[in-house]
């Protein structure tokens, strides 16, 4: 359970930190929302896989 919490926080902090750092740069790319959505979905799928194996 503790493993899940720690790794889930790390996995989900990644897109949040990247969003904070790269927000302005990605805003210049075509369809910036889709890049952030893809990153968020990756974090979500990884978290679900983590839940399956560690809970």
């Amino acid at each position: 359970m503790l493993n899940f919490l720690i790794f889930a926080l790390l996995i989900n902090a990644m897109p949040a930190v990247l969003f904070g750092v790269l927000r302005d740069r990605v805003a210049g790319w075509p369809m910036p929302g889709l890049w952030w959505l893809s990153l968020g979905t990756l974090a979500l799928v990884l978290t679900l896989a983590l839940a399956k194996h560690s809970l």
Binding site: A8, L44, V45, L55
Partner: protein
């Protein structure tokens, strides 16, 4: 749109919902409380409804509430997002808000309502001495999957609703049909495992609701593989909604 503005819209959404009522925001607690009372007393005690293969006294009540609370969040998010551009036309015509980000305030407001319902449900579980499984820690991510799906579909319907107002009524019908096609009131045991696998493929919410029920009933684990597939499908719906709004943005602003 800044997070502060989204939060302000979400707060306004909750305030508007109970505006003019004497009890105000207290209704946010009373409504789930009454729903739980009905499910526990009427279904569980008076009707004596039982789940197949589950012996515990409040089994069916817990099953119902664990499906109904997320369903309400899903259906409200879908229905509200489907009408958001028309409902907020006064604001949108005056301020150049981002149409793709605007529906997030509905998700925030529904998350707050869901949180209140879950809090009351946790108190009931404590009294019923029914501990959820460890998978409860994954609940926020399962909730995120369903809200992404609701918002994605809602955004697509929201664009259509600007051009064709029948979409609001269509959405109400869709929600009703979807409710009965999802194992919330009925248990998956009434069909064969093969039939239920088919249902999970056709109805993404079947996996989501079964996940919640597994967590709170403590008799199984959520199907994380199916949930991951639903998450990808929800992301596709959200991406399509985003692209649809971007493509139609000028027409939407002209029409509303």
């Amino acid at each position: 749109m800044t997070p502060a503005l989204i939060w302000s819209f979400a707060r306004q959404e909750l305030v508007d919902r109970y505006a003019g009522s004497a009890l105000g925001f207290l209704w946010a607690f009373l409504q789930p409380l009454v729903m739980m009372f009905i499910f526990v007393v009427i279904f569980g005690q008076l009707m004596g409804a039982r789940l197949p293969g589950v012996g515990m006294a409040h089994g069916y009540s817990i099953y119902l509430v664990s499906g109904m609370l997320p369903w309400l969040a899903f259906s409200n998010t879908l229905a509200r997002t489907a009408t958001v551009f028309v409902d907020k036309k006064n604001v949108l015509s005056k301020v150049g808000l981002s149409l793709t980000v605007l529906p997030i305030f509905i998700v925030v407001a529904e998350t707050a309502t869901f949180g209140i319902g879950m809090l009351l449900f946790a108190v009931f579980l404590l009294f019923a001495q029914q501990a959820p499984s460890a998978d409860v820690l994954a609940l926020p991510w399962i909730f995120l999957v369903q809200q992404m799906l609701a918002m994605g579909l809602g955004m697509i319907l929201g664009v259509l609703n600007v051009f064709l107002r029948d979409v609001r009524e269509f959405c109400n019908v869709l929600v009703q049909l979807w409710f009965w096609a999802t194992p919330i009131v009925w248990a998956p045991q009434i069909m064969s495992p093969e039939q239920f696998s088919w249902l999970k493929m056709l109805n993404p919410l079947a996996s989501v609701m079964s996940g919640y029920q597994a967590i709170f009933m403590g008799n199984a684990r959520p199907d994380y593989d199916s949930l991951a597939l639903v998450a990808v499908g929800a992301a596709v719906a959200l991406a399509l909604g985003y692209l649809f709004i971007k493509r139609m943005e000028k027409d939407i602003r002209d029409l509303i």
